[in-house]
Amino acid sequence: MRYGKTDVLNGVTFTARRGEVVALLGPNGAGKTTTIEILEGFRIRSAGEVSVLGADPAHAGEAWRARIGIVLQSWRDHAKWQVRELLAHLGSYYAPYSTARVARPWDTDDLIAAVGLTEHAHKKVRRLSGGQRRRLDVAIGIVGRPELLFLDEPTAGFDPEARREFHDLVHKLADSENTTILLTTHDLDEAEKLADRILILAGGRVIADGSADELSRRMSTQAEVRWSRDGQRYVHSADDATGYVRELFRQYGESVQDLEVRRASLEDTYMALVREAESGAPARHLSAVA
């Protein structure tokens, strides 16, 4: 993908499996939105190969579009529409694409209940609060019961409660609807909670690909061991934490107290990876076979 003469994406290669939740992480300008828009068919790439649900998004038709869900951020659109009216209307476009396996669209009232907007069903869109509006965005994104759902920074501006509810909804979609979900986020905690797999994008490249656990294990082989003995606190970084702890017990036995073994957090891993990629150092290629 190229703007003018600058390649903004270069070497973004990944695959998502059915029902998998994949998070695209990366600093601003890393190419997250560009990647997602190419996959949505909203942006034409300058080179490379893309296949989404078996079709090239740049040339895919309306039947393909019906299997994709995109959660867009609402701003002032459809302000005069009532929540229920809007969802019923937008859902009606999906009816011809209903199959024996996937009944489209989602029943309007069930959908409103699923996103927790039942008591606001007859409110006008412009009367909704920010959080309610965002839930409506999600409802619009999934009204056609998509097989693949794109979420671009879905919880930006959410309070912790709204964020928790949203996470539950995403889990529900992935587990009970078997929806494949691709989301971008700045929030490491969110990526760790939601995603089966995390892709880290920096400088237009995928610099890491794996589960949160795999990433931190691969990035840092060292773990931090903390304990106290006779009222004195100790910290030690060890390559082989298990072996170190075993030795510790062998030597001091029961006088070892308050033992803690901490592997590098996702945040540590992320910061280290991004810093490494941005400094132009030869990137360690982290890839996990899922």
């Binding site: 828009e37 949505e40 579009r65 867009l72 951020q73 659109d77 009216e85 209307h89 476009y93």
Partner: protein, 279 residues
Amino acid sequence: MTATRAGFVRGWIELKQTLTTPGDVITMAIFSALFLAVMLWTRHTTVPGTQFSLGTAMLVSVLGMDVGFNGVATLGGLLTVERDDGTLLRAKAIPNGMTGYLIGKLITVSGTVLIGVGIRLITGVLLFSGLALASAGAWLTLIWVLLLGLLATLPLGALLGSLIPSARSAGLLTLSVSGIIAVSGIFYPITHLPHWLQWAGQAFPMYWLGLGMRSALLPGTMAAVEIGHSWRHLETSLMLAAWAVAGLALAPVLLRRVARRESGASVAARRERALRRMG
């Protein structure tokens, strides 16, 4: 097929919304009242060279203007506003959503025009004298001028709406349409304008819409003050048809181009710009 039906439903819902939104109704009422005041003011003035009420002639010409103004400026304006606020992008994210969106817009704007024309006709019958509504021919002419007029102006509105870069410049569209109205013989017979302005006026559909409406609803003798002392039905239908063909050929190409360019990032960028201006 589904998208067509969805488009009709959409058009109907948005038309109802327009009619039940106080802001929209008040704007419409204020403009109608202003025009009505001018017409009533000139009710006893005569069209130069005749004994006919200038107010009545104006009322009829304004029917034509309603079609032209709404078809071009209202539709074009709505398209730019809804491109900015992300409505168009939502339509794009839905299967056949663009088709439904466009049909919806055409229905809403046509509905607004028809309601406006209806209200003006009723006012005309109640408050003005001289309208020739008794013949079937009058109604027939009214209907074909209305339909052909919508066909000539709606694609043009869609086309201009797609060319205008942002909702902020949509005012330019209203301004240019107003400029064209001034040289289209709506408020005063075009024959009193300098020759070159008469030619300029006749190049646009607005003049022909006004002429068509006058030919439908004014007595036949009033043709005497028109160019060529004739209602020129053939020329009217040819000119409106030409605009319709040109618009229908070009509008889909431009609309597709606009739709192709829409993405979450472009809407977000415009939102940011707008919020910066507000803040």
